[in-house]
Structure formats: structure tokens, C-alpha cells
Amino acid sequence: MAIERVSAILFLLAAIAAPMLLSGFFIFQVTMLLVYAIAIMGLNLLTGFNGQFSLGHSAFYAIGAYAAAILMDKFGIGYLWTLPLAGLICFAVGFLFGFPALRLEGTYLALATFGLAVATPQILKLTPLEHWTGGVQGVFVAKPNAAMGLPLTADQWLYYLTLSVFILLYILARNLIGSRTGRALLAIRENPIAAQSMGINVSLYKTLTFGVSAAYTGVAGALGAIVIQFVAPDSFGFMLSVTFLVGLVVGGIAWLPGALIGAAFILFVPNFAEEISKGLSGAAYGVIMILLMYVMPSGAGGIVQSALRAVRAR
């Protein structure tokens, strides 16, 4: 317990101090890291803790991003308000999608969510919706300045905003997992039939998890839209879902802090691969991924958890 508390405090201190030490570009990168971490955390709630496989989280990310962009662009709603609204909209979509998903398992669920991921950019491009979505051209988002006259640059302000949202969502997720609900989720992952017989309402929990997971990823999408200042349909293809999945596995399944490590991986390693070779960057990235799975087949989470166990066992 102590180790975790100490590392949490160290992380917080470093995170708060970071913008004072780093350049604008690096702050931007770390902000994107936190955005992806929130999305991965959402995926982790569903896949890691509840055992439901999803290839569709790019869709929820897209819906969150577009919700924020359209609310700001067409309705003049303040950017802060778009975050909970994007979360709510994605919760509703995810919850509704959770119902058909109930009847599907494993690979079949993967295909259904995959269908969602493939369909979303096409729907966003749809001619009848162009007035709202901007069609193939996408929507611009204005970059907010620091609130309440704080002496921060726009980059720093967005960073602190994203950090606060991340911490808030992290704590919520942590409490959720530690609660009776969390134990129910794990029980469902391990053995749905046994969970049912223990009196757990499996359908309700599964659909709710879908909703909550989608909401997390949607909030990440909204933050991403604000940070990037632009949304376009082809940013949210099926490969984004795959990227989140890679982040989840690298960070560690069913281990919340792993989201940060996974996000760092999907953000920085492609750049690193590119430096190895422009012509073979894709292959380099692939090789790094595979080697990493050899070194830590259960992701960073697996290593940290077994290290913690070893320390405690002493």
C-alpha cells in the first residue's frame, strides 16, 4: 500500500511541476498522453475489468470529439461544459450499444464493435449531416485560454485541465473497482454463469460498464478535440481502436495506472520507430511491439504487479 501511495504522490508532484520545466511542445505531448490515457482507462474498464472485448472505442472517441466540436461550434456552449455533455452522450450510446452486445461473446462481440468503428467515420461524412459535422472537411474548434485570468499559457492551461480530468476519472475508476460493483464486474469477467447465480444482475452490469467505458473514452475524445482544435472523420478510423487496444495491453490489463504507460507507448514509440528508418518505420514499430510482448507478456502492469507481490512477500 505504502509503495502505491508514495508513487501516486510522486506522480502528482511531477505532473503539477511539469509545465514549469517543459517547453510548450512537450506540454502539448504530455497533454495528448493524458488524453489517450483516459481513453485507454475507459477501454480497460470494459475489456480489462469486465472481459468484454471492444474494437469500437474509436467510435466513442469520435462521438465525444464531435459532440464537443459541434456543441461549441453550433451551439456556442463553453468548452468546459462540453466535457460532461460528451461523456453523457457517449454513456447513452455505449449503454444502448451494450444491449445487443449482451447477446454476443468474444469474437462475435469484437465484430459487432468493429462494425461500429468502421461505420462511424462513414456516418460522420454523410451528406445529410454535413451541416452539423462539416462532412469530409471536419469542424474547427477554438483553443481556450486560461480561465479566471490565471497566468498560464493556453498549453499549460489545457494541460492542467486535462490532468484534473484524468485524476478525477482515475479516482472514480479506482473507487468503482474497489466497490461491490467492481467485484461484480470481475466476477462477471471470470464466470458470468456463476456471477448470475450469485444474484448479480449480469445484463445490467455489462450494459452499464459499456456505458461508463464509452463515457470515459468520449470525454477523452472531447478533450482531444479541444487540444487538437480540429475534428475530421478520417481521424477516427478503425486503426485508432487498434491503437487503444495496443495501449491497453502494453500498459497492463486490469491495472489502472497502466493507462499512462500504454498512452506513452502509442504516442512516443512510433516517433522512435521513425527515427530508426523512414522507409521501414512501420516494420520497426511492429518489431518493437512483438519484442515487448516477449519481455512482458502481461504488459507493464504484469511486471509491476509481480514486483509488488515480491516486495510484499518479504
Partner: protein
């Protein structure tokens, strides 16, 4: 050794009267660039690779006005968030003078505001979207060509030569396809409603487009406007042959290459296709002995031997680099961002031998599309024939 250093010092002293912004100095011009090196559209990565080779050649020839070019190019994987990240890396960490020929509509839209806030050039954007030729709102962003211009050229040709045409539109469902459609419709004006009898689009993830062509044939059209990328264009040409459907066939310039589209589709099948172009098709036998083409081939052999000579993207990239060099030459020793922008908007009938005869590049403070002159061409089964002279595709 000391003498050599002294000479260098003297030389740089002589040039010390230069004016500079971040990214330029007496000895160096730092240029930023991104395009997809990885991911599903990594085919475009050849643009960055060719340009890297091109500037190596320029540097070997002594650079521009005595300054070496440092060309920094990154992978944006065709993803706007990544493009923003790479742009900020270029601008804030690498401290480049500006972005030259960055690729992709969405990626460039995503950085347009940032570049204009930074008051740094984002020029010759590799995209045909109309948004990049808007000097009033975005004075630091300049496009290259405009899909709409080309669309207008075909529409005007139809109005003149086949006013009772029934047109079927076949387009890629993104900014590329829709850009052409917009220009085409605009130039047809009121007649668009009656002339356009069928429309079908495709996504690049689709394996085949047979169904769309079948549907368009059933619309009863006698003109097909084909706005697709080379692979799908080739499929479409072949499907037309299979269906024995022989409409008047317009094919957009980006796919109208003998080597990468018409050859695979079958030269015989491609006879009669009308397109436009502004530069020489490296796969057209017409230019086999052309000095500009020979020169380009020699460059490819020496500086970019791994590049694919049957890919005309490499001609395009060469041409853009030449234009960038022209802008930098014009800027002289005043390498401020403002002057780069000023010179980019001050190309007066610039011409290079890779352009088709008669095509020139012109920009002005109100005209941010360098390429607007196009040559209508028709395929005769072996090579492209010119139809009429060079025409102007800008909005009237």
C-alpha cells in the same frame, strides 16, 4: 585549415547583411515537412523521400544563395492529431522557418490556425482543398492546386462540346472526390440538375467498385466523370470494358498516368479517356527523349535510386521542390517568414521544363493557388494527345 576557416568566416561575414527569422541564418535554411511514411496511405511517403534527395542535390550544388538547406521531414501517418504534434515539434523544437509542402487535407486543416497564429509559412500544401487558397483569412497558408479548378475544366468542356450530356459522377468519398464534384457542379450552374443523372461514391477500404459502375451504367448516362485514385480508376476502366459501356470518360489528372493506371487497366481499354495535366507523365513514351525527363531520370538514378520511376508522384514532388527553391531564391538574403510568404505570392509565370509546354506557375496576393493552368489531354492508346491549348481553371 585555418585558412579555410578564415575563408568561410569571410564568406559568412559578406552575407551578414541578411535578415532572418527563426530557422534561417547565414549558412542554413531549415525547412519543415510531414507526410505519411506509415499507415494505409504510406504510398505518399515517396514525396518526402524524393524531396530529401532533391535538397541533398541542391546542397551539393552549393545550396541557395550560399545557404545549405536542412530539410526535416516527419511521419504524420495521415492523422490530424499526429500532424499537429509533428508540426509543433518542427516549429518549437526543431525551429524551422516554416512548413513546405506538408501533405493531406485534414492534417493541414488541423494545423492551419496554429501556423497562422505563429505567423509562419505553410506553403504549397499538398492537397487540393479550396480552404488553402484563402489569403484573406489565412495569409500564411498557401495551396498548390485546387481540385475544383479541374472539375470546372471538364464542366466547361462539356457545356461547349456536349451540352445535352447525361453525366454520371463516380468519386472517392472524401475531400478529394467531393472537391472535384463541387467545382464541376459549380461550373455547370443551373444545368447541373438536369445533366447529372447518377452519382456513386466509394470508400478506399472497399476492395472493388464493380457495383458502383453497374449502378452508374443503369442511370443511362453517356458521360462518366471518374474521380478516383489510380487503383480504383484502373478497376473502373476495366469494368467499363466488361460491361461494354462506352461513355465519354473524364478521368482526374491525379490518376491519369499511363504507368500506374492506364497500363494496368489495359491501354486498349483506356483509349479515348479525357483528362488534364500540368506536368509531364514520366511513363508517357511521348517524353522519352525529352531533356527535362532525361534530367529527372538522371536525378532519380543518382540521388533516389530506390524510388519508383513509374510513379509520377515523384515528378510532382520534384516539381514542387523546384518551385520552393525558386521562392527561396527570390527571397534572397531576406529570409524572414514574412518575405517567404511575400515571395511565394509573387511567382510570375514561373516555369520549369517538367511542366507541360505553355503551363506556368503564377501567384499573387489574392491568388494562392500556384497551379491553375491545365492542359486537356486525350489518350490515343499509346500516349496523351493535347486537346486545344492550355486553359485556365480558376473560378470566373
Amino acid at each position: 585549415m585555418i585558412a579555410a576557416l578564415a575563408t568561410v568566416a569571410a564568406a559568412s561575414m559578406a552575407m551578414a547583411k541578411g535578415k532572418y527569422d527563426v530557422g534561417a541564418s547565414d549558412t542554413e535554411i531549415k525547412m519543415g515537412h510531414f507526410n505519411p511514411y506509415s499507415g494505409p496511405v504510406s504510398a505518399w511517403g515517396t514525396v518526402g523521400k524524393l524531396q530529401t534527395a532533391f535538397y541533398r542535390m541542391i546542397n551539393e550544388q552549393g545550396g541557395i544563395n550560399g545557404r545549405k538547406i536542412t530539410f526535416i521531414t516527419y511521419d504524420d501517418a495521415y492523422s490530424p492529431p499526429k500532424a499537429v504534434e509533428q508540426t509543433r515539434r518542427l516549429m518549437e523544437r526543431d525551429q524551422v522557418l516554416g512548413l513546405f509542402n506538408p501533405m493531406g487535407t485534414a492534417s493541414n486543416l488541423a494545423i492551419q490556425k496554429y501556423m497562422n497564429n505563429m505567423k509562419a509559412p505553410q506553403i504549397f500544401v499538398s492537397s487540393g482543398a479550396v480552404a488553402f487558397g484563402n489569403p484573406k483569412d489565412y495569409p500564411w497558408t498557401m495551396g498548390w492546386l485546387n481540385y475544383a479548378s479541374e472539375g470546372r475544366v471538364y464542366a466547361r468542356y462539356l457545356l461547349q462540346n456536349k451540352p445535352d450530356a447525361k453525366v454520371a459522377l463516380f468519386f472517392q468519398n472524401d475531400d478529394f472526390g467531393k472537391g472535384f464534384v463541387a467545382g464541376f457542379r459549380e461550373a455547370l450552374g443551373d444545368k447541373a440538375k438536369t445533366m447529372i443523372v447518377g452519382e456513386a461514391s466509394y470508400e478506399i477500404s472497399e476492395p472493388t467498385i464493380d457495383s458502383q459502375i453497374v449502378k452508374l451504367k443503369a442511370s443511362g448516362a453517356d458521360v462518366l466523370f471518374n474521380m478516383s485514385s489510380p487503383k480504383f480508376a484502373a478497376q473502373a476502366i476495366r469494368k467499363l470494358t466488361d460491361l461494354n459501356w462506352k461513355p465519354l470518360h473524364f478521368l482526374t489528372s491525379s490518376s491519369a498516368q499511363i504507368g500506374s493506371t492506364l497500363g494496368p487497366a489495359g491501354l486498349e481499354n483506356s483509349k479515348g479517356i479525357i483528362s488534364t495535366n500540368y506536368y509531364k507523365d514520366s511513363t508517357d513514351p511521348r517524353w522519352k527523349d525529352d531533356p527535362a525527363m532525361k534530367n529527372w531520370n538522371a536525378f532519380m538514378d543518382k540521388y533516389y535510386p530506390e524510388g519508383d520511376k513509374s510513379d509520377t508522384t515523384n515528378v510532382y514532388a520534384y516539381l514542387v521542390s523546384e518551385t520552393i527553391v525558386q521562392v527561396l531564391k527570390q527571397a534572397g538574403h531576406d529570409l524572414t517568414r514574412e518575405n517567404i510568404m511575400k515571395q511565394a505570392a509573387n511567382l510570375k509565370q514561373f516555369s520549369t521544363p517538367l511542366l507541360l509546354p505553355g503551363v506556368t506557375i503564377t501567384t499573387s496576393e489574392t491568388d494562392f493557388f500556384p497551379i491553375e493552368q491545365l492542359q486537356l489531354i486525350q489518350f490515343n492508346g499509346r500516349t496523351w494527345d493535347f486537346i486545344g491549348g492550355v486553359i485556365d481553371g480558376s473560378a470566373k
